[in-house]
């Protein structure tokens, strides 16, 4: 049982799950700036790829049959 930071002076001694998760994340990622900053850039890198793939898939599905890549077989002469 860990002491809750929120409960100084009170009889409660249980750190709730959110606080434990926050502490784990803080100690792992935020505490060292040399880990925090690269995590942010790596997160941006990952998000840019993931978001692009997701939104492109949605766009292609939503506009099926209307884009050049869907109809180009009819016009390619190679």
């Amino acid at each position: 049982m860990s002491v809750s930071v929120l409960a100084v002076g009170t009889p409660y001694v249980v750190a709730d799950r959110a606080e434990q998760l926050a502490n784990t994340l803080y100690n792992a990622i935020v505490k060292r700036n040399s880990v925090f900053v690269p995590t942010i850039f790596a997160g941006a890198f990952a998000f840019s790829i993931g978001f692009d793939v997701g939104i492109t898939k949605f766009w292609d599905t939503w506009n099926k049959g209307k884009q050049w890549k869907d109809i180009r077989e009819k016009y390619v002469e190679a």
Partner: protein, 73 residues
């Protein structure tokens, strides 16, 4: 009665202490600088062609898939 004894430190003692303190941080910042540079340069065709396409999982995302007949240049 206390006795003060001087323990001489060889010059490499300062270097060792500096490395012990800072080597982890320097290594992490170096990796971070690499990640940042890769992210900021990922738009360039050189980095895409020569490096990012060779990454195992994400390589196919960076490949240029437009057919040659569709390219203006």
């Amino acid at each position: 009665m206390s006795r003060v004894v001087y323990h001489p430190v060889p010059p490499q003692g300062n270097v060792k202490r500096f490395l012990r303190t800072w080597s982890t941080s320097m290594g992490l910042w170096g990796a971070g600088a690499g990640i940042t540079a890769l992210y900021l340069l990922s738009v360039t065709p050189l980095v895409k062609r020569e490096f990012l396409t060779k990454v195992p999982v994400l390589g196919s995302y960076f490949e240029d898939k437009t057919p040659a007949s569709d390219k203006p240049f």
